[in-house]
């Protein structure tokens, strides 16, 4: 699997290259600035791009803008955005085109190599990887007066959180140490309570949940 990596801090870039190579990824390019990233995304057609939000030369949200721009020319290009902070505002922009294949994680998540690599693979396969902090922000904003959400059991809430992060049933089952069948049951309960249409497609399912959580009241 070919990865384009954009990160301006040498130590982090080097670490990421090492880690991804160790897990069998092929690094097509590891760049350190916005223009280089734009060029790499255009010319190298990677399977997935791992991008830091803040890049030179402006040190603003260069990486995010490049990723969004690249996805406008090539819809569904898998992009995993990394940042020192997560904002619901950015998550919303990344998810706005509804194509999926989006990841948005805190840089801290690379501490857990297994989970991080799992997230990269999920995004490359067209799935979603949302940082738990984004999901918690969404939930804490909604739960105050959201009746359907209030009807969920604590376990169903846990499942909802993991599902919104983009985990598959198998992934959720492993995390909560329950069977996949139990997760499937929780999932269908959640969808019934929130009034969402059940879909067999995992990616559609995640996007539907995220859209539900992010709708304006």
């Amino acid at each position: 699997m070919r990865v384009v990596l954009a990160e301006d801090l040498f130590l982090l870039r080097d670490g990421l290259v090492r880690m991804l190579t160790a897990y069998g990824f092929e690094i097509a390019a590891a760049v350190e600035s916005g223009p280089e990233l734009a060029k790499a995304l255009e010319e190298l057609t990677p399977d997935v791009a791992v991008v830091d939000v803040r890049l030179p030369p402006t040190h603003t949200d260069e990486g995010l803008q490049c990723a969004l721009a690249a996805r406008r020319t090539r819809p569904g290009l898998p992009v995993l955005v990394l940042s020192q902070h997560v904002e619901q505002l950015y998550a919303r922009e990344l998810l706005a085109d509804g194509n999926g294949a989006i990841g948005y994680l805190l840089k801290d998540r690379v501490f857990d190599a297994e989970q991080f690599v799992d997230a990269v693979r999920r995004v490359a396969a067209g799935g979603t990887a949302m940082d738990p902090q984004v999901i918690q922000q969404l939930l804490s904003r909604r739960s105050a007066e959201d009746r359907p959400l209030a009807r969920l059991t604590p376990r169903e809430r846990e499942v909802l959180e993991l599902m919104a992060q983009g985990r598959s049933n198998a992934g959720i089952a492993a995390q909560l140490v329950v069977t996949e069948r139990a997760v499937a049951k929780h999932t269908s309960n959640i969808f019934a309570k929130l009034g969402l249409e059940v879909s067999d497609d995992d990616n559609r399912r995640v996007l539907a949940v995220l859209a539900y959580l992010d709708q304006d009241r």
């Binding site: 600035s33 916005g34 223009p35 990233l37 734009a38 060029k39 255009e42 939000v53 803040r54 030369p57 402006t58 040190h59 603003t60 949200d61 260069e62 995010l64 803008q65 490049c66 969004l68 721009a69 690249a70 406008r72 020319t73 940042s83 020192q84 902070h85 904002e87 619901q88 505002l89 801290d108 501490f111 922000q137 804490s140 904003r141 105050a144 007066e145 304006d216 009241r217």
Partner: protein
């Protein structure tokens, strides 16, 4: 309809005229004794200076003069709308009688105060008395015409002078009434302006020659002190947070790593446990640093500017917020930052105290001013009281000549408006877009 308006206008003017006359009368009757006392005590304390006794008398006496002058300044502002700046040089805290006296005597404003006492006794009293005289003298004229002249004029050849009208009988008494009527019309029109003239005189003597500039210097000195205090306090907070937070966690991690090194062969299970702890510590250190960074300069603000930073802020609120932003560019970084934290503080206030279930945030820039409005539908009753969060916001905005206004009737809604004068510049476009390949 039109006559109604005219009648209301006439009544309002009459009220003003009478009020000005009464106020002038109060000033002319009550103030001169106080002024004379102040002047007498000042002169006495100054005369006692060579004896040394004055060192202990001058500071309290001049202090009293200043308090009196301050009270008169307040009256000028309240009754006449004439603002007289207060421009005393600060006396160093803990100064002895000698330093205190010398500082007072070297302050030009002290001598202006004394000059004012002299002027107030004389010209001041006369100008204060004028409105009353102008309003009440015509009354006497009418009374004379109504028959009071008989009390003054006892026989033929006897003359009573009403101003320049010689009253000798009913006919000339009526002439006095005509003059009184003319005077009354003049009084009705000009009494308030006459009182204002009194306050202007006070300002001319008490306010010094460069009142506006001195006032500006005073404001700048104050806001600069506030700015320095605030940033020093911020640095202290950051230092403490780093010291007790991330720094302590890194020390703990280093220690754990040392122990792990020792344990890794002898007791791998224990080493593994410590590794997990070290990882937790590093995650928490990062979390603390992130919070700290957000408090210093929020990343979204750096990346996107004020509009999106406020939007991101609204998304973090526990209640629904409507944000509208109209900015054609970006303000300077310090202004953006001040504006962001001001909105943040006002929102925090609203969430904590107002009991609102909805807020509206409006950010726009017109006529060289950045205007930020935060409205909530809570219970109202908010005010920028000393020591409150809003007062803190007001002080910090002051550094940028910004202002804050609160409208918060009991029962709500609360609307906090902040304005900062500033210019917007065009934002830097990110270079990925500048290449043009992406079509944005």
């Amino acid at each position: 309809m039109n006559t109604d308006v005219q009648r209301d206008d006439f009544r309002a003017r009459t009220r003003q005229a009478v009020l000005a006359a009464v106020q002038g009368l109060v000033l002319a009757l009550v103030m001169p004794p106080v002024t004379v006392l102040c002047l007498a005590f000042t002169v006495m304390s100054l005369e006692l200076l060579p004896l040394g006794l004055g060192l202990f008398l001058v500071p309290p006496v001049l202090g009293a003069v200043r308090r009196y002058a301050r009270a008169r300044r307040e009256l000028a502002a309240e009754w006449g709308g004439v603002v007289i700046p207060v421009v005393y040089r600060p006396v160093p805290p803990g100064a002895g009688p000698w330093t205190h006296t010398v500082t007072l005597l070297r302050d030009p404003q002290t001598w202006r105060d004394l000059l004012w006492l002299l002027t107030d006794m004389t010209a001041g009293t006369v100008t204060a008395l004028l409105p009353a005289v102008l309003l009440f003298f015509p009354v006497q004229g009418f009374l004379v015409a109504a028959g009071l002249w008989r009390a003054y004029v006892h026989g033929p050849g006897d003359t009573y002078w009403y101003a320049f009208v010689p009253v000798t009988g009913q006919a000339t008494a009526l002439l006095a009434a005509v003059l009184a009527a003319v005077l009354l019309v003049v009084a009705h029109r000009f009494t308030p302006s006459l009182l204002t003239a009194h306050f202007r005189l006070t300002r001319a003597v008490l306010g010094g020659g460069r009142g506006d500039l001195t006032e500006r210097v005073r404001v700048l000195t104050e806001t600069r002190r506030d700015a320095v205090d605030t940033s020093a306090a911020e640095l202290r907070r950051i230092e403490r947070d780093l010291h007790d937070g991330a720094q302590a966690r890194l020390v703990a991690m280093g220690m754990d790593l040392g122990t792990i090194e020792m344990l890794v062969e002898r007791d791998p299970a224990a080493a593994k446990e410590l590794i997990a702890r070290a990882r937790r510590n590093s995650a928490e250190a990062l979390e603390e640093l992130r919070d700290l960074v957000r408090g210093i300069h929020p990343p979204v603000l750096a990346e996107r500017g004020l509009g999106d930073a406020v939007r991101a802020l609204a998304l973090r609120l526990p209640l629904p917020a409507e944000v509208s932003v109209e900015l054609s560019g970006r303000a300077e970084a310090p202004v953006e930052s001040a504006a962001y934290f001001a909105v943040n503080e006002v929102l925090t206030n609203a969430v904590k105290h107002s009991g609102a279930d909805r807020v509206w945030i409006d950010v726009h820039h017109t006529d060289g001013r950045l205007r930020l409005t935060v409205t909530d539908n809570g219970r109202g009753g908010a005010a920028a009281r000393a020591g409150s969060g809003l007062a803190g916001v007001e002080r910090r905005l002051g550094t940028f000549d910004g202002v804050l206004a609160v409208s918060s009737p009991a029962g709500g809604p609360t609307m906090v408006t902040m304005e900062i004068p500033c210019v917007l510049s065009w934002p830097k476009t990110s270079s990925c877009c500048a290449t043009g390949w992406c079509g944005c």
